[in-house]
Symmetry: C2
Subunit: 517 residues, 2 copies
């Protein structure tokens, strides 16, 4: 799925409403104390309406890196928009609380207000989910469209997460054609790397240092989702499919299950399904670390469709892996996946689910009333419990676009669903009753990486994530050419085959190297 048209059009300037304009002023009242003189105001009308004083404040700080945070007589500039403040928080040893952070006790006592350690872990997993977008080749002109831009040994480093403390051990592919909803990307090249498969995510494992910090060996699966919620309306099939024998009445949305389980001998990367690929890797890693006597956790993350796949994956993993591996899901903007029986089975299997949900985002409300007019009429009769048939599971972390003083509040279906926007809201969240954290320091500019949600006065261009000259480079002959990928970054079915055979032979894979401390 390409970006939705509203987002891909680039700049758009809805007139800032009075509400939008005043939100920053409310949060930082001194920032708008000085009013622009009347004649200056008249000039502004033709351009963007910029609350002049906050702009000035921002400018001051751009120029004076040493005066971090304050100007004489002003409230401190929020850390999230100070260019001279590190964007990362220091990492503390959270091993004393990790089981709770990982979901034991259903996060009781950690969500209201949100515990800072839990907040930081949610963002850590969210950033790993974000990697599945930032690392994805969306370019329909590329013969590698639908693959990962980088080889797995350097994926995290290429995307600025070298110090995240995880090592990617496996890429997961899902079929993108034949019977699959149009959620996935297809290359327009006839001789593409694969016309059948999409890179759908990865398995990673915490290195020794990170494992010590959090108190266990943490295996992560990050599932890629969809960016454009408009396609959901078209493609949610609204058909529940039973999971089959041994799963009772559990049923899940057919489209999600198709993505998770489809395979074909005629493909290059999906001779096995996404499910089979990920489960083989999870068994291998779990065995490896359990044999070493380590405590092992499995955390599955994903945004949007990725959140749905995370649930299916968690269900399967909790069924197949040893019981002493605790399984939790940290999802963002995930839709409903199955019926109440599916939810009950997940609970029985002790899968812990924490869903970050933005109130204004439509996707978490899907599949719902939109897909089935018949059910809509039943709404008043059968009551709230039966209203949807599809049911959410686990704990919800409810977020609100209006809580952030940095965001536009006008309707933006794609913006409300954006993962970076979610992470921004998590970073500022304390509780429903409390205001956006002024000490939140995650880089606000990231919100506009693939959205236009930031207030214009912050001067961050919307949808700024783009390659220089769409990847064209001027070569030594003075010609503009599309450079070929480095060999390490070109997808190869041999790499995947090697994994499987190494496992059969009981050999360790030489490229699983933990980051040196």
């Amino acid at each position: 799925m390409a970006l939705p048209s509203s987002a891909s059009l680039g700049h758009h300037f809805p007139p800032l409403s009075a509400t939008t304009h005043s939100s920053l002023a409310q949060a930082f009242p001194r920032a708008s104390a000085v009013e622009a003189p009347p004649n200056q105001k008249r000039q502004l009308r033709a351009s963007i309406h910029v609350p002049t004083t906050l702009s000035n404040l921002l400018h001051l700080h751009v120029g004076s890196a040493h005066a971090a945070g304050t100007t004489a007589g002003d409230l401190p500039t929020p850390a999230a928009i100070r260019p001279d403040t590190p964007a990362l928080s220091p990492k503390e040893d959270i091993s004393s609380l990790f089981q709770q952070i990982h979901g034991r006790g259903d996060w009781s006592g950690l969500l209201h207000p949100l515990h800072p350690w839990l907040r930081r872990e949610i963002i850590k997993y969210g950033e790993l989910a974000q990697v599945t977008y930032d690392g994805f080749d969306f370019n329909p002109f590329s013969e590698f469209c639908g693959s990962c831009l980088y080889g797995r040994d350097r994926l995290l480093a290429k995307l600025g997460l070298a110090r995240t403390g995880y090592t990617v051990t496996k890429y997961v592919y899902a079929m993108s054609q034949i019977g699959i909803p149009r959620w996935l990307e297809r290359s327009l090249h006839a001789d593409a790397w694969s016309t059948d498969s999409n890179w759908m995510g990865f398995v990673a494992v915490s290195d020794d240092a990170e494992s010590r910090r959090i108190g266990c060996r943490d295996i992560v699966v990050a599932w890629r989702g969809t960016i454009a919620p408009t396609e959901w309306f078209e493609d949610i099939q609204g058909a529940l499919r039973p999971l089959g024998d041994g799963h009772g009445d559990a049923k899940v949305e057919r489209g999600f299950l198709d993505v998770y389980t489809s395979k074909s001998e005629r493909t290059r990367y999906n001779k096995t399904s996404a499910s089979e690929q990920v489960m083989a890797e999870l068994r291998r890693l779990v065995n490896l670390y359990l044999e070493q006597g380590e405590r092992v956790t499995l955390t599955i993350t994903g945004h949007s469709l990725g959140g749905a796949l995370a649930l299916l994956n968690a269900y399967e993993a909790a069924s197949a892996l040893p019981e002493d591996v605790s399984v939790s899901v940290i999802s963002f903007a995930g839709p409903r996946v199955g019926n109440s029986a599916f939810g009950e089975r997940l609970k029985e299997k002790k899968v812990k689910v924490l869903r970050a949900v933005v109130k204004q985002d439509v996707v978490p409300r899907l599949p719902g009333i939109l897909f089935n007019e018949r059910l809509k009429t039943l709404e008043g009769v059968v009551g709230k419990k039966m209203e949807w048939v599809y049911e959410h599971v686990g704990m919800e972390l409810g977020l609100d676009v209006k809580s952030s003083p940095f965001l536009k509040h006008g309707v933006d279906v794609a913006g409300f669903h954006n993962l970076e926007m979610y992470l921004h809201l998590v970073d500022g969240f304390v509780s429903r009753e409390r205001e956006f954290r002024t000490e939140a320091r995650r880089d606000v500019a990231l919100v506009n990486k693939t959205s236009g949600m930031l207030l214009e006065e912050l001067r961050i261009p919307p949808n700024w994530n783009q390659a220089a000259n769409k990847g064209m480079m001027c070569n030594a002959y003075g010609r503009w050419v599309k450079p070929t990928r480095e060999a390490e970054d070109i997808p190869s079915p041999y790499r995947e085959a090697t994994d499987a055979m190494a496992e059969e032979l009981g050999r360790s894979r030489p490229y699983i190297h933990h980051v040196a401390e």
Copy 2:
């Protein structure tokens, strides 16, 4: 004016018609000798229809830089798309013919067929005109929107023309507001560098080596134009204005004259008009080089609106400068500018005009029948001569989109007007009767820099000219920020004032340094 909507939407994939598909095959018949097997053909239907063998040929050459140009049994790949062939032609000493190339004798004997030396000079001036686009800040989020991205001492080097043999000596600004048609850019920033002016072009002069090569000291004025022809329909005012006393019946289109002559004491960069700025610099340079006993030529170039301004500028220069400075205009996609009396006066003043005009481009047909319904009805009565009132001047170099085997032929109003597309057609032009030059070696990829005119099978993304992350950079604190411009690249009214005062004081300007040989 922003890019027209059709261009700024990015990728678009009209199905390739049979005609389009066959054009490359016609030009290079062996390239499509091998047909794809039937089952492969079926696969192709869902993707872009790519003539497989030419693609393979291109791929072969990407991989084998040493086998430049041929593969066993194949026709040579055209130089224009060989990634391993220098894009520039060697520069010959053309001093023996420069007066003719500069227009003496109205280019007789040089146009049919097009003399290779003249072709190369036309492209040289066209590339200087292209600089006014490539160097322009179109970003409405930039506080420098409407200015040149680079200081004049490094403009050409920044845009890959370090070796062009010219030194920029002056920037020219024109008013962009008040009474001016909406052809020019306006920043959306309230505190922009200037809300009144646009960078409109530059004056440059040939360095010693280039002057020796061409046989004279060549002063160039390059005028910026408009990219989006759609705005022409709205903004051509269709009102002829007399040039006034001493100019007889000569009249020109009011809008062009407004851009050329508007000024206001209340502005920062247009206390003097574009006309006054450029004429002062021309007088200074002409005096300087005539005093040194050199032969001096003035070549004025521009695309689109820039072509119109070039004519006005040439008219004024030929009136004001010493007669021994020959004045010529090399324009691209220029509209009609004035009435027949204006054309006559230009001829009297010995201004030589060579207009490159693409048959499919609408702008050179403006102002015309479109603006005046009354004249349309007169058409049959008064005959062809009176049909337009506005009249073209000089010699026309007629180009045809269909002559190039690399271009789409479907209607693309913006693409037909694109300057890089013009330069591509000039590069391949021999004569109307002859085919596109197979030895043309100008980089074909440039056509898609700001258009989508290239055939998809060439795999050059449309509109590929874009800044990495819209100029956002990750700073040392891990934050994405918009870096401020380097001081040399920030427009400053002092720089312009210095020029004027240095002239008054009779001092040379230290930053006019000729490029060392």
